[in-house]
């Protein structure tokens, strides 16, 4: 009997001390990844992919959430080029109505995704800054990650803080600057001025490090210069604007699309010499009806929700020969009239459609040559170089079907700055600029048109022949109103006691 028991115990002992270590199959620890061949490239790719892909947030993987969708909606839906055609559960609605709150889902996700990119960038930056004798390849990745950190931080400060030239940038709060992955959990917001100087430092460092051209899908020396010209424009530092704009323009790499080609520019931004940097969407990245940028502003009848339209205010600026007009498409019914949705006329916007023939697919432009010209034109205008400004403006107009409508003199009652800003609005509409161009030029947001930015509006109220007058809310928003700022997300406020909320 004893030998039975011994035998059985022995069996028990041999199966004991079993293996209990099983690493995950689709993840690597930070150390493992950094020591993998191509590890740096894979992390850097992840930082780019966060612009286009949504990630889980607050327990939900929501198709509506992606950095770029929020980037464009949170700016353009709050300005005067796009009208809201439908009350919706999607938090994009709060951008139209300015009913901002700390728990607003789009502003929370945008903050989170921004810092996720910064965290990934810091992983590369921390690793390479501690390594000596970097090769060209490593320098390029280091530069790209500095660029990404600079771009993302700059976008953050535009949304969550007063613009640089509103109030005192040394007193106004900017955003939390995250410069390393090993920082303490809690950290206070830097001032707007400190935030800008960090952005400039990141971008200049990036420009010096990047010497390889990996394609328009990735950051480059010229992209850093182009962005610097924009950042300095926001700071009213016009000489620097011109300096960096010149560097881009004189690099000789880029050309404006011609009038003949511009209508198709947005269907192939990566193949265009006008593009400096765009986020690459392959057909596999098509986010479809629920997640694409186009879905809200365009539909072929099936492809999108098509619930937001170009405003009359914008369309009225387009002259008949302007090829930019082709990027607005009225939806016509059988009798050729513009169709109504919820009482409003449907004018679709086509700047994010028809890459590879797909109405929901595009590779959104983050930086392009036309903007650099417009940055320089605005700087020249501010420096009273009227001829220089008009020359830059007309260079754009020549390539937009307006060769016969060049501007030779500032119209009566206007300034050269007005002329430049009107051209800037025409050219860069729907690309995430308009809101900030208004604010930093101390212009109010004026939306005296029917649309669901007016709280409580219903179709019974709408009379298209008579635009809404006083008595309705949200028709005018002052450029220096605190309402313009998005709140710091509730998640940050609750966990970071050093981080102050916007008032």
């Amino acid at each position: 009997m004893k030998q039975y028991i011994l035998l059985l115990l022995l069996i028990g002992l041999t199966i004991s001390c079993a293996k209990l270590d099983y690493p995950p199959s689709d993840s690597l620890t930070t150390e493992e990844l950094l020591n993998t061949p191509n590890g740096l490239e894979i992390i850097t790719n992840g930082n780019y992919s966060l612009f286009k892909d949504g990630i889980e947030f607050n327990g939900v993987l929501d198709d509506n959430n992606s950095y770029l969708r929020q980037y464009f909606q949170m700016s353009d839906f709050a300005a005067d080029d796009i009208v809201c055609g439908q009350v919706t559960e999607d938090p994009l609605y709060y951008s139209f109505t300015y009913t901002h709150s700390p728990s607003q889902a789009n502003a929370r996700y945008f903050w989170y995704a921004s810092y996720k990119i910064i965290s990934g960038a810091n992983t590369v930056i921390n690793y390479l800054e501690n390594k000596s004798n970097l090769n060209d390849n490593e320098k390029q990745f280091l530069g790209e990650n500095y660029f990404l950190r600079g771009f993302v931080t700059f976008s953050l400060v535009k949304f969550y803080a007063y613009q640089y030239n509103i109030g005192d940038p040394n007193a106004n709060l900017g955003v939390v600057l995250r410069l390393s992955t090993s920082e303490p959990k809690e950290k206070s917001r830097s001032s707007v001025a400190e935030t800008y100087s960090q952005v400039i430092e990141d971008l200049t460092t990036a420009a010096n490090l990047m010497n390889t051209s990996r394609g328009k899908e990735y950051a480059s020396k010229e992209a850093a210069w182009a962005l610097l010209s924009r950042v300095y424009l926001y700071m009213n530092n016009y000489n620097k604007v011109i300096e960096y704009a010149d560097r881009v323009i004189n690099s000789g790499i880029f050309n404006l699309e011609t009038s003949a080609n511009f209508p198709n520019y947005y269907t192939n931004t990566l193949g265009s010499n006008e593009t400096i940097w765009a986020i690459a969407f392959t057909p596999a990245d098509n986010k479809g009806k629920f997640g694409s940028i186009a879905s809200m502003i365009y539909s072929d009848g099936n492809s999108g929700w098509g619930e937001e339209f170009a405003t009359y205010d914008y369309m009225d600026l387009l002259s008949n020969n302007d090829v930019r007009k082709s990027l607005i498409e009225p939806k016509l019914d059988a009798s050729g009239d513009v169709e109504l949705k919820n009482g409003l006329e449907i004018y679709y916007i086509k700047k994010f459609s028809y890459q590879d023939g797909d109405p929901n697919l595009s590779s959104p432009v983050m930086l392009r040559l036309a903007e650099v010209y417009l940055n320089r034109a605005e700087a020249k205008a501010q420096l009273n170089d009227e001829a220089g400004a008009l020359s830059d403006i007309n260079h754009i107009r020549e390539n937009r079907g307006l060769a016969n409508e060049l501007i030779t003199a500032v119209p009566a009652g206007e300034t050269i700055v007005d002329v430049v800003l009107r051209e800037r609005r025409l050219e860069l509409a729907f690309e995430g600029h308009r809101l900030f161009d208004l604010l930093r030029n101390h212009q109010n947001i004026v939306r005296h048109y029917w649309g669901y930015h007016i709280p409580g509006l219903n179709i019974g109220d709408i009379d298209l022949d008579n635009p809404p007058t006083s008595g309705y809310d949200n028709l005018d928003i002052n450029y220096d109103s605190p309402r313009v700022l998005y709140y710091i997300p509730i998640d940050e406020i609750l966990t970071n006691s050093l981080c102050e909320q916007n008032q």
Partner: protein, 990 residues
């Protein structure tokens, strides 16, 4: 013939000789004088014995005068017979163990008599369970066991219910479902018809034996086994019709919706409807168009379930073999479920010492599911639109279709016809166990299971369908595969010393599972093809796998003194791959004591069947945590520009360890005059070291980090009472009632945090209940302006409330705790009345005290925000503001800003009382059955979910209480409606 006679005589002679010297022989019969094969007979205090043969006969040698023979058989009382004279021929009549206290109850790694229990344990036999045909044991337990809450939150064919034992004891746990143990082995699958008994273990006196897996309670399933005797076949059929139960949702008809739409045109100045503009925009003939969307999308559906089994056996081998087929059509368009399962259970006795059990179970299922949006649009379609053409085919509708009113220009009838959402699965498991009786007091058993599953989900949209995949088509195919092995090896000890009785076990267990998953998603499929190779643009390919392992040591001691005082102590050690090396091992002790007071001389009253006091304490853990939550990780499943991309995914925490739940239970069981059975339990369960997603500053790039922090306290009481109201020969009436109360409180969480889905928030905060809604408080409609109002709370510097005012500015409204998703009281009532051959059965279940966020009302009880969605008829007493002075429930459509934003406006009481089952059965007399060559025959009719008493103004109030990526507990979104079922039941034994 001659030879045979010779042999026969010889046999008689030999048997006479042997009998003469030391033999006892005879026959064992049951209460009906039918012989019982397989009865165990041993000579007391020896290991000598035998069993009865096929005709109930036995023959036992070497018996001496004054020896005692013990006759034992499962389900019967053990009888002892003293042998006064040898040789002897005796006839033993076994008496059924109708005495509840002698029934054997499985409590995990061991079994006990009911009288020996010292824990909160409830045991149900298959008869008490199978009152409705179901694929899911959860729904069979609904309303029957105190402390077990069952929610049937969907009526989708084949869907399982949600089961919670004594509340919810984890926040992050991916699953609050109890642990199922089938035939003594953790995990496993079964068909409900195969169940012999179900035991629910509610306190740690018993569940601690399952250690880290037992936080949510344990449900032990024992499947049927063969009996020695002739083969008995059983056939059951349940067939019937079911109807969608839309609860209090009735969608408006054309006229009602026309009148609702007119409100859009009420002039804000003179408060009259601007009829000129209204009739211009909404032609009057619309009001006569009446398409019934709901009636066309949901149709009565057919249901059938068949079951056939055979059981029997001889002294060596017994068997139970069954098969069942289930064909379940859904009430919603093109939904259904089919399943086939087989089981073979055999026991083979090699000899008196060694026996082997082999259980094989195989099941396969497939079904068609549905798309959420198709269901939503089926409710919300405007009655003025007809989605069918003149030939009765669904129309193609897209954004360019004119003469279409319903929002989004989508025809769900057309979508359903041009899409597939199906799934299929296959699972198999093989259990092998060997019992080796080493000696009188020591047994070794090894119990092993190997199981596997594979399933596939298939979502396809044809290029013919309108919508985003028009002209392209879409396919998403997902495949899963998994294996699991588990081995348990145990020594059982059993010894008595006078009045001291001791049993115990010590054992080792190891389990390992492997899973893999892969999917492909893409567009561009030719019409007619729906396989991955037809995809022309692959948008995503994914796949991953994983392995988990756990090893455990188990031990248990049961001691009793004079069968009056009982003690059970157990200790389990688990080591699992889920945690960092230093924190892998966890210890789970459990102890319980009980005192059978009625066995004391001072309480030896004849009317008192049972008075028992029980106390138990123990620790359990939570298994449903992720695999690698302690590592700092980059996730590599995305791409940029076609190349691999990694995303910062998780922060490291090398101190992460087990959640542990301390459970204390006190109970009383009382039985009086064989009429009343009463149980009362009170418990306090504290889960410590909760694994929480502790929120991090988002500016670090991470939402949360897994840390051990906080506690959940579950306090509760449970009462169950069953009575035999009438107990005559031909009329028997029993009723049982149960009630449970559970409160659930969070503490030591630290900073509070919120979860938000669709703008609806729940707060996790010290002192708050789990799943507490955190929303602006709705204060109705301003009677002067018709605007919605919410409460604005003003606080002073100390955080004290100094004013509560009404505001119509939503952004000023104060978020506050306004309700909670978990019920305070749950329970049920069962009545069983037998009059001659008729049995009337009723089962009711109820729930009280929870709040439901009626999300569906934001769509279909709207204030004009959505003019092109149909609306439901509003709750009685509702009114819409028309002019100053009106006291209305619904705001003016002209002054409705943000009225549908999340607030307590949509929070409703979830109380209900549901008539779950009503049935009538007729059992034919045995002689009638015999004429048909049958052993038994019964016919019955059953109605399920006949009626629900509730004030909840939405679909059925049974609302999801799972927390997952897309659903918040207590929020009722559009769901597959539950079913009212009417069934015909046939049960035959032959």
């Amino acid at each position: 013939m001659k030879n045979k006679m010779k042999n026969y005589l010889m046999l008689i002679f030999i048997s006479f000789i042997t009998t003469t010297f030391a033999q006892v022989k005879g026959v064992v019969v049951d209460e009906n004088n039918e012989p019982i094969p397989g009865v165990n007979i041993i000579i007391s205090n020896t290991n000598k014995g035998t069993t009865t043969d096929f005709d109930g006969k036995f023959n036992i040698a070497n018996v001496q005068v004054n020896d005692v023979l013990e006759f034992s058989f499962l389900g019967y009382k053990t009888q002892k017979v003293k042998i006064d004279i040898i040789p002897k021929v005796i006839k033993i009549k076994m008496i059924p163990a109708s005495e509840k206290m002698d029934q054997i109850v499985l409590v995990g790694y061991s079994s006990k008599k009911r009288s020996e229990l010292s824990s909160a344990v409830v045991n149900l036999k298959s008869k008490e369970l199978l009152d409705i045909p179901s694929n899911d044991v959860g729904s069979l337990l609904q309303g029957k066991v105190a402390g077990v809450q069952v929610i049937q939150s969907t009526g989708e064919p084949g869907a399982a219910s949600q089961v919670r034992i004594r509340g919810i004891s984890s926040i992050s746990s991916e699953d609050a479902e109890p642990l199922y143990v089938v035939d003594g082995i953790i995990g496993g699958s079964f068909d409900p018809n195969d169940i012999a008994s179900v035991t629910v273990l509610k306190d740690a006196g018993t569940t601690a034996m399952y250690g880290s897996r037992a936080n949510n309670g344990v449900i032990i399933i024992q499947t049927k086994s063969g009996k020695v005797g002739k083969t008995i076949f059983e056939f059951k059929s349940d067939t019937g019709l079911k109807f969608a139960d839309h609860g209090n949702v009735t969608m408006m008809n054309g006229t009602e919706f026309y009148n609702w739409s007119a409100e859009l045109y009420r002039d804000p100045n003179n408060h009259q409807i601007d009829k000129i503009r209204f009739f211009n925009d909404y032609p009057r003939e619309l009001s006569n168009k009446n398409f019934d969307w709901v009636g066309n999308a949901f149709k009565p559906a057919y249901f059938q379930k068949y079951y056939l089994s055979a059981k029997g056996g001889n002294n060596k081998l017994s068997y139970y073999i069954s098969g069942s087929y289930n064909n379940d059509k859904g009430t919603f368009m093109n939904t259904n479920y089919q399943a086939i399962s087989f089981r073979t259970n055999t026991v083979y006795k090699f000899n008196d010492r060694i026996q082997m059990k082999n259980n094989v179970s195989i099941n396969t299922s497939n079904g068609n599911s549905y798309d959420y949006m198709d269901m939503l649009y089926s409710y919300l379609g405007v009655p003025w639109d007809n989605p069918f053409d003149a030939n009765g085919n669904p129309k193609y509708i897209d954004g360019n279709t004119s003469n279409w009113i319903s929002r989004d220009h989508i025809n769900p009838f057309h979508n359903v016809e041009n899409s597939t959402h199906n799934y299929n699965g296959f699972g198999a498991s093989y259990d092998m166990s060997i019992n080796f009786k080493i000696n009188n007091w020591l047994t070794f058993r090894t119990t092993n299971r190997l199981s596997m599953y594979t399933d596939k989900g298939h979502n396809f949209v044809s290029a013919l369908a309108a919508g985003t995949y028009h002209d392209k088509g879409y396919l998403n195919d997902e495949k899963n595969l998994g294996y699991e092995g588990i081995t348990t090896n145990i020594f059982d000890l059993k010894k008595s010393f006078g009045d001291h009785n001791l049993t115990g076990l010590i054992g080792y267990e190891y389990s390992k599972n492997y899973w893999e998953t892969s999917f492909i998603e893409g567009t561009g499929l030719p019409v007619g093809l729906e396989v991955p190779s037809a995809i022309s643009t692959v948008s995503k390919v994914g796949g991953s796998d994983g392995t988990g392992a756990m090893e455990s040591m188990l031990s248990q001691i049961n001691y009793n003194y004079k069968n009056k005082y009982f003690l059970t102590a157990s200790y389990r050690i688990d080591a699992a791959s889920n945690f960092p090396k230093n924190n892998r091992v966890a210890h789970f002790p459990g102890i319980s004591v009980s005192w059978l007071v009625n066995k004391e001389t001072f309480l030896d009253k004849k009317w008192l069947d049972l008075l028992r006091l029980r106390v138990s304490f123990g620790i359990t853990g939570d298994p449903n945590i992720g695999e690698h939550q302690y590592l700092g990780l980059f996730n590599i499943d995305s791409h940029y520009n076609g190349n691999s991309a990694a995303i910062p995914y998780q922060l490291e925490n090398l101190n992460l360890t087990w959640e542990k739940k301390q459970q204390l239970n006190f109970g009383i069981d009382l039985g009086i005059s064989k009429i009343v059975d009463f149980s009362f339990d009170i418990y306090q369960n504290t889960t410590k070291d909760l694994i929480l997603r502790i929120p991090q500053p988002l500016s670090q790039g991470f939402e949360y980090r897994y840390e051990n922090r906080g506690e959940i306290l579950n306090n509760g009481i449970e009462i169950s009472l069953s009575t035999k109201n009438i107990n005559k020969k031909n009329i028997k009436w029993t009723t049982s009632f149960n009630l449970s109360k559970n409160t659930n409180t969070l503490s030591n969480i630290g900073d509070s945090f919120q979860m938000t889905i669709n703008g609806i928030s729940q707060i996790y905060e010290d002192g708050a209940e789990l799943y507490t809604f955190y929303l602006p408080k709705w204060l109705g409609v301003n009677s002067d302006t018709g605007a919605p109002q919410w409460e604005k709370v003003t606080y002073d510097n100390q955080g004290k409330v100094i004013a509560r005012t009404a505001t119509s500015d939503y952004s000023e409204a104060t978020y506050q705790k306004v309700g909670h998703a978990l019920a305070d009281f749950t329970g049920g009532f069962t009545s069983n009345l037998q009059i001659y051959n008729f049995t009337f059965y009723a089962n009711l279940s109820y729930q009280y005290g929870n709040d439901i966020y009626n999300f569906t009302r934001t769509f279909m009880d709207n204030d004009g925000h959505e003019p092109y969605y149909n609306n439901m008829l509003p709750a009685p007493g509702s009114s819409r503001w028309e002019k100053p002075g009106d006291n209305a429930t619904h705001p003016s459509m002209q002054n409705n800003a943000l009225s549908k934003e999340p607030s307590s406006r949509y929070l409703e009481k979830g109380n209900f009382l549901k008539i779950r089952t009503l049935s009538l059965k007729y059992d034919f007399n045995k002689n009638v059955a015999a004429k048909l060559h049958l052993k038994a025959l019964s016919l019955g009719i059953t109605a399920n979910n006949l009626f629900t008493f509730t004030n909840y103004w939405g679909q059925d109030p049974e609302t999801n209480i799972n927390r997952n990526d897309w659903a918040m507990p207590g929020v009722s979104d559009f769901k597959y409606p539950n079913n009212k079922q009417f069934l015909l039941n046939l049960n035959v034994k032959f």
